[in-house]
């Protein structure tokens, strides 16, 4: 289904596409978290993921509007590279958390520009369309935390020491956020 993705948001080099039933059934998305390389910095990956799990996740999280999750597709060849989501969306506080997942088994050209493009699109959507005012990122990767603060303007807010157990040790959890300019 390489070419059948439905655009929801467009950037300079990538489109963010709707995750619908067709997306779930006809891509290998469900399989991504079964590869250690892909979950190096994530808390998932303890249990194998199947298409049935992914259908349930799709139904509860995406159809249930608990999160906005979109596929990341290159404009020029419609290649599915990853997914990005806004979750824990709180309309009272007007904030949300952000997470990005790239299928790292694919060698991605222009990965840095794509990373910037993807985040700019979703942050723009969150601030301008959804009227959110704050987006928070949490990660156990110091490099990723440095990346988003250096090139996306996230401000480092703190570190939860030895918060996440992964690969037989506890990792620090780095917290950063971006707040909408008035």
């Amino acid at each position: 289904m390489k070419k059948n993705f439905k655009n929801f948001l467009s950037g300079k080099i990538v489109d963010l596409v709707t995750i619908d039933k067709n997306f779930v059934e006809n891509t290998d998305w469900f399989d991504w978290i079964n590869f250690e390389l892909n979950t190096e910095f994530l808390t998932v990956g303890n249990f194998p993921n199947t298409l049935s799990h992914q259908r349930k996740y799709f139904s509860e999280q995406i159809v249930g509007n608990k999160r906005i999750q979109l596929g990341i597709v290159t404009k020029h060849d419609r290649n599915l590279l990853g997914v990005i989501s806004l979750y824990s969306i709180n309309s009272n506080n007007r904030d949300a958390f952000i997470s990005t997942f790239f299928d790292r088994r694919k060698k991605i050209k222009n990965s840095l520009s794509i990373f910037v493009d993807v985040h700019k699109i979703i942050i723009g959507h969150a601030f301008k369309k959804m009227n959110l005012r704050r987006i928070t990122s949490t990660t156990i990767s110091k490099d990723l935390d440095d990346l988003i603060s250096k090139i996306l303007g996230f401000k480092k807010e703190g570190t939860m020491k030895k918060k996440v157990f992964k690969n037989n040790k506890y990792h620090d959890l780095y917290i950063s956020s971006i707040i909408k300019n008035k």
Partner: protein, 76 residues
């Protein structure tokens, strides 16, 4: 490639990694966005100066980094 540039890359990628003057983010498998930010942090440490966004997005090949280091080494 300058010896300083070579040392910088060896520090990040390890000595086994083959990096040459034609290496860049697109033709070097291990040089992904996260590795890139490590390289940028190492440059910042070396010069005790923060790189701006444009520099981080621009310095995506050994040639560019080599030129950048040569130019800036004179200033510091």
């Amino acid at each position: 490639m300058d010896i300083g540039t070579k040392k910088l890359f060896q520090k990040i990628f390890g000595k086994k990694m083959t990096i040459n003057i034609n290496s860049n983010m697109d033709n070097t498998y291990d040089w992904d966005s996260l590795m890139h930010i490590r390289i940028m942090s190492e440059i910042e440490k070396k010069f005790k100066k923060k790189l701006n966004i444009n520099q981080v997005l621009e310095l995506t090949s050994t040639k560019k980094i080599d030129n950048f280091l040569r130019k800036n080494e004179k200033k510091f």
